[in-house]
């Protein structure tokens, strides 16, 4: 087991040029005596020179932000790197793991079948899978869009990583898409739409309260909107564009396999079409 520093942010060493490592550095940098642990599972495909260059750049960035970088190169255990990562990263809600998505979907999806997806599903620790669309943000989006769905547990799952983002957040736009069937949506009256919005508005207010209480963010930085639509991903993308959000911060899908088969995965569509960075979280409350 690796010995972690006071702030336990772990990052899987990014090999892509669209570098989510910026996010890991920024998340680790917002705390006293910050430490970032970079983990890489050797798979035999990544050249040592390339890995060394990546780590060198990460080390420079960490120095720039006053973050101590600890590197762990792990041997592969079994067929999947998942076991090696799980054995290296402690289990529990106080540990944060940052990973990435595929750089290109190319018919397979960005998250579908990746180690990041397995980590998100494992509930091992708090996991954030980031797709970087805007390298110029350097992991500092500040303007976040939070697509939420009505869950009995509220926004608890999103709080751990949002707490790390907290110091840099300037705007937090909460959006809840109340989904209706396509046929109904086409003939939905204004009054009908308002009726559907009301419970969503109450839920958004609850999320706002939760964020204010838990993270101490002022209500000035937050706003919420409820949209009635027949297409959730499309409305999220429109909201992101309209609010000029730099990061879509959304929860991992709770749908099981048959549901995903029937309704598809909104996350994949958002990952594919977003013009800003996308972060998929699964927090352990």
């Amino acid at each position: 087991m690796i010995n972690h520093g006071p702030v336990d942010v772990v990052v899987l060493v990014p090999l892509s040029n669209l570098d989510y490592g910026h996010y890991a550095v920024q998340l680790a940098a917002g705390h006293d005596d910050p430490t970032l642990t970079a983990v890489h599972v050797r798979d035999g495909r990544t050249k040592d020179t390339m890995l060394a260059e990546k780590l060198q750049r990460m080390r420079q960035e960490c120095e720039h932000h006053g973050v101590q970088l600890v590197v762990h190169l792990l041997p592969r255990v079994g067929r999947s790197p998942l076991d090696a990562i799980r054995s290296a990263v402690p289990e529990g809600p106080e540990h944060y793991l940052v990973c990435g998505t595929r750089a290109q979907g190319r018919g397979r999806g960005f998250l579908n079948g990746t180690t990041s997806e397995q980590l998100l599903r494992s509930g091992h620790c708090n996991v954030l899978a980031v797709r970087v669309v805007q390298p110029g943000l350097l992991g500092s989006p500040r303007r976040l869009l939070l697509p939420v769905t009505e869950r009995s547990g509220g926004f608890r799952s999103g709080l751990p990583f949002l707490r790390l983002f907290g110091p840099q957040v300037s705007h937090l736009h909460i959006v809840l898409v109340a989904r209706v069937g396509r046929g109904r949506f086409r003939v939905l009256s204004h009054e009908g739409s308002e009726r559907l919005r009301s419970p969503g508005q109450a839920y958004c207010e609850r999320v706002e309260r939760e964020i204010v209480e838990q993270l101490g963010l002022g209500s000035k930085v937050m706003d919420a909107q409820v949209v009635v639509s027949d297409e959730i991903p499309r409305e999220i993308l429109i909201a992101a564009n309209k609010t000029k959000s730099r990061l879509i911060y959304m929860g991992a899908s709770e749908r099981n396999l048959p549901q995903r088969f029937l309704y598809g995965s909104p996350i994949e569509q958002v990952l594919r079409d977003a013009t800003c960075d996308v972060a998929i979280y699964r927090g352990i409350a």
């Binding site: 892509s16 040029n17 669209l18 570098d19 910026h22 920024q26 940098a29 917002g30 750049r57 420079q60 960035e61 720039h64 932000h65 006053g66 750089a103 290109q104 669309v133 805007q134 390298p135 110029g136 943000l137 350097l138 992991g139 500092s140 500040r142 110091p167 840099q168 204004h190 009054e191 308002e194 009301s198 002022g218 209500s219 000035k220 930085v221 706003d223 499309r234 993308l237 429109i238 564009n241 309209k242 000029k244 079409d273 013009t275 800003c276």
Partner: protein, 661 residues
């Protein structure tokens, strides 16, 4: 160190943070990055998208009905030619195709917005790669590329400047700002879009040159985001389209039900199945409004032509409908002149039209307005004043209250229930209860609030009649004799004059002349005087007049004054011909029938209807008295009122009004 975005870091750090170097990327790096981010171009719509749009407009419910109708016509023509059914079939088919093509053309025009944006990007750019300067296709740019900018260049990707020499760019394609912006390399604070060290895709270099490192390409650029928004945003149906669709659905349902009923009746009466089917389809087709869509299109086209003559260019036909509902267009570029915030400049009494300034009146008014509002307050660290969020009008109310009377937190906390703004009723409301006081407040458009307050028009009529009866009783009390005359002192001479074969008393001529003079004076007054115009406007739409700030109560008072003066003159004139009696009041009721026959809002109508009523009363009285009873002439004007109300409720010259409900 604080978190920073690319525009906030020093120019010397940019290359390292974007994983590049001053000599540019290597071919291997470029290839790897292009593999990850794709080519630097705005994502074109799917190749087959136009086919999907075409299919959508040709295979919709209404088109299918038209096809079905055409098929029925062709079948009928084949069974019995020479009835012109074939021609009708072709006409229906033509309508369906034309409708489809027109809608397709409209939607494709919207699709071309993307093409227009793509034209902002250049074909080729100069970059530095592997230590040498070269020209490459703009599509080949990747994040980390070192871009060389010179005067006249169009910028192909979003890039952070690291070197500049008197660089001036035109950002109008992105921001709409017409003024050129000088760019520099120093770190900048604030939003990326406002940053002076970023060269944005689609913009052009007006002067100087510079070196920049690309950090966003294709749909990741700010221009790409605009393109994505124009692609993704929903274009809802216009109210006219929604209503048309609804009407078509209802009519089709009726047609189908009728067709099925006739089919059942046919089967029951023993006709052949084939005849019944054809008959049923015929009924359905006959009742479906095939010509509706072409008619609407034609009407909108004609409207757009008329607007073109008035210097208004309508590019989308649906816009005609929206423009038709607009009274005033206020345009502004938010961010330059306005901040998307509202502030209360003055509060005005809608009845008197005067500003409310007394705190004793302002406080309850603002309190009521706040009860019917939905605002939230919050205090962020470092803020000296609370921050309000909600609808801009509600926020303005809260701010005004806070300025005048301190924080309205107690009012907001004790507002127990809020009824959100209802688009149809155009108002919202709230219930306030603090244990000692319970208030229900409504806030909204004046037109929707006015009916809730004040006296209804019926009460005014009732009061008028009541005062009339009171005065009549008073007169009877003071002058018990039923009639009185002027004796020998006549107002007008009673000598007769000859007009052709007619012999007329001069007093009649004088009365007529005075009536004509009064008529002309009143016409001029109502047409040109400010108060006359206000009186006509009040009669036309009281609530709109109040909304414009015209003091309606003053208009009412003046109207009553005028009515009294005109009635007094009328009374004097009538009594000068005959005698003064209590029965003069009934003449007023006869005048009412004149107004009804001529039209309530028509002066000319009153002039024409007066002689008609007079002649009808005289001749009717003369002839009918022989057969009926003596006083029958007195009911003739009221019979005419009844007939007019049934046949022509707006009178002979009254303006017909169609009210939207």
């Amino acid at each position: 160190m604080a978190a920073a975005q690319i525009h906030e870091v020093a120019a010397s750090d940019v290359l390292g943070l974007l994983r590049s170097r001053s000599g540019g990327l290597t071919a291997f790096e470029v290839e790897a990055r292009r593999h990850e981010v794709g080519p630097n171009r705005l994502q074109p719509p799917s190749r087959w998208r136009w086919l999907r749009i075409l299919a959508k407009h040709f295979i919709n419910f209404f088109s299918l009905l038209l096809y079905l109708a055409a098929i029925v016509c062709f079948v009928a023509d084949a069974i019995e030619s020479g009835m012109g059914m074939g021609l009708l079939g072709w006409a229906l088919l033509g309508v369906a195709v034309l409708n489809g093509l027109f809608a397709f053309a409209q939607e494709m025009r919207a699709e071309r917005a993307m093409e227009a944006l793509r034209r902002f990007l250049p074909q080729r750019v100069r970059v530095c790669r592997e230590g040498t300067e070269r020209e490459v296709l703009a599509d080949d740019l990747v994040p980390g590329d070192v871009l060389l900018l010179a005067e006249g260049d169009r910028i192909a990707a979003d890039a952070r400047l690291v070197e500049t020499e008197d660089l001036l760019v035109n950002n109008a394609p992105l921001t709409g700002e017409s003024r050129s912006q000088p760019l520099k390399t120093g770190a900048a604070k604030g939003r990326l879009i406002d940053s002076p060290n970023i060269a944005f895709a689609g913009c052009s270099v007006l002067r100087g040159n510079g070196t920049a490192v690309v950090f966003a390409t294709g749909h990741r650029t700010e221009l790409g985001k605009i393109a994505a928004l124009s692609r993704d945003v929903r274009r809802p149906l216009s109210p006219l389209q929604r209503e048309t669709n609804r009407m078509v659905r209802v009519l089709t349902l009726i047609a189908v039900v009728m067709g099925l009923i006739f089919f059942a009746v046919g089967v029951a009466s023993g006709r052949s199945l084939w005849i019944n089917i054809v008959f049923m389809l015929g009924i359905i087709v006959a009742n479906v409004p095939e010509g509706l869509l072409p008619t609407i299109t034609l009407a909108l086209s004609m409207a757009s032509l008329r607007m073109a003559k008035k210097q208004v260019l309508v590019k989308t036909l649906e816009a005609v409908e929206s423009l038709g509902a607009v009274h005033v267009i206020c345009t502004d570029k938010t961010g330059t002149l306005t901040r998307n915030e509202l502030a209360i400049a003055a509060m005005v009494d809608p009845i008197q039209g005067l500003p409310i300034q007394a705190p004793t009146a302002l406080r309850p008014l603002l309190k009521a307005a706040l009860i019917a509002s939905e605002v939230r307050t919050g205090m962020s660290p470092g803020d000296s004043a609370p921050h309000w969020s909600g609808d801009p009008i509600d926020v303005a109310l809260a701010q005004r209250y806070a300025e005048l009377f301190g924080p309205p937190d107690a009012i907001l906390a004790e507002t127990r229930r809020h009824f959100p703004f209802d688009l149809a009723k155009r108002r919202e409301a709230g219930v306030f209860a603090n244990g000692t006081e319970v208030l229900f407040a409504i806030k909204g458009a004046w037109e929707s609030l006015r009916p809730l307050i004040g006296q209804p028009i019926l009460s005014l009529i009732a009061v008028t009649l009541g005062i009339g009866y009171f005065l009549e009783g008073l007169v009877t009390f003071i002058w018990p004799a039923s009639t009185a005359g002027f004796g020998d002192k006549h107002i007008f001479p009673r000598d007769v004059i000859h007009i052709g074969p007619a012999v007329v008393s001069q007093e009649y001529v004088w009365v007529m002349v005075i009536c004509i003079v009064i008529f002309l004076l009143l016409t001029l007054f109502f047409r040109f005087h400010k108060m006359g115009i206000a009186m006509r406007a009040t009669a036309d739409d009281q609530m709109a007049v109040q909304a414009c700030g015209i003091p309606v109560t003053r208009v009412f008072s003046t109207s009553w004054m005028f009515a009294c003066v005109v009635a007094a003159i009328g009374g004097v004139l009538i009594s000068s011909i005959g005698s003064i009696s209590h029965g003069l009041v009934d003449t007023g009721l006869k005048a009412f029938s004149v107004v009804i026959l001529g039209g309530l809002d028509s002066f000319v109508g009153a002039v024409v209807a007066g002689p008609i009523i007079g002649l009808a009363e005289s001749y009717g009285g003369g002839y009918l008295t022989r057969f009926l009873w003596a006083g029958v002439r007195d009911i003739i004007p009221f019979l005419i009122i009844i007939i007019v109300m049934v046949i022509k409720p707006y009178g002979l010259f009254g303006e017909k009004r169609i009210e939207r409900i």
